[in-house]
Amino acid sequence: MAESTPPISVTTQKDIRIVEFTNNKILDEGNITDIGATLKALIEEGSPPKLLLDFANVDHLSSAALGMLINANNEVKKKDGKLRLTNIKPQIFEVFVITKLNKLFKIKPTRSDALNSFDE
């Protein structure tokens, strides 16, 4: 079950941390724990944290992964930071719609839209 590649990659643009999921399934419990821990570390180091999550490679999302994302959102809010989600495929976006989490998260269609929205 061990993944041969890390489940996410992190790059920086200005003061924004861009997190890209490199695994098409944010599914495995181990993956979710790892991703959650990485996000938590990124949120803790930001003052305030600015985090952009890019879902371009994601084809499947479990409720446990949604829980991890909500957790990250709560942590970001605590630190008066900003969290944006982008490049979510239509099928995955429907999961956000069904769970009404599209109302909780700030979801932008493209990465540039998302990057620009940090100034809003």
Binding site: S63, I70, E94, V95, K100, L104
Partner: protein, 164 residues
């Protein structure tokens, strides 16, 4: 290596299949420990069969989401990861539909006791979405045996993507 397969009670044929091929039906019976690796193998086998039958992309996605959530529920919330407690899975797949039954050995639950995770007051809580997704994505969903057994059906049709 084949943890799920080694625990499988096959009714004939290979890979737990009664008959193979897109015109017949596949019947899978598995009993696995409360273990995510074994669960993953079962999911791969069922999804693999659904995929081979050329289910519409949306139906395939729906089954993948619901099956994953149902297995997590059985292992985590039903059996509470007890290694001695098993999860029983039975799936019948035809070209028209996938019928899946999953039973755990936990205490069961009342569907009405699970709070609605889409209510504004619950939106920021981290749990409670598995059942919602199962019900949204499958055509028929029924819990019996005090909530320990879940029966769900997905028809192979180009249905509109469900909306909450």
């Amino acid at each position: 290596m084949d943890k799920a397969g080694s625990k499988r009670r096959s009714r004939g044929g290979k890979s737990g299949s009664l008959r193979s091929g897109p015109t017949g039906q596949s019947h899978f019976v598995f009993t696995i420990p409360s273990d995510h690796a074994a669960s993953h193998e079962v999911q791969m086998k069922i999804i693999g069969d659904v995929e081979r039958r050329g289910f519409h992309e949306q139906s395939l996605f729906a089954i993948r989401v619901a099956l994953d959530e149902a297995m997590i529920n059985a292992i985590k919330h039903g059996n509470r990861h007890h290694k001695k407690k098993k999860v029983h899975i039975e799936a019948t797949i035809t070209a028209d539909e996938a019928r899946i039954e999953i039973e755990d050995e936990g205490p069961g639950f009342h569907r009405s006791s699970v709070p609605d995770p889409t209510l504004p007051k619950n939106l920021e809580k981290c749990s409670g979405r598995g059942i919602l997704l199962i019900e949204a994505y499958m055509d028929e969903v029924k819990w019996t045996h005090g909530g320990r057994r879940l029966r769900m059906v997905k028809r192979n049709e180009p249905s509109l993507i469900p909306r909450g």
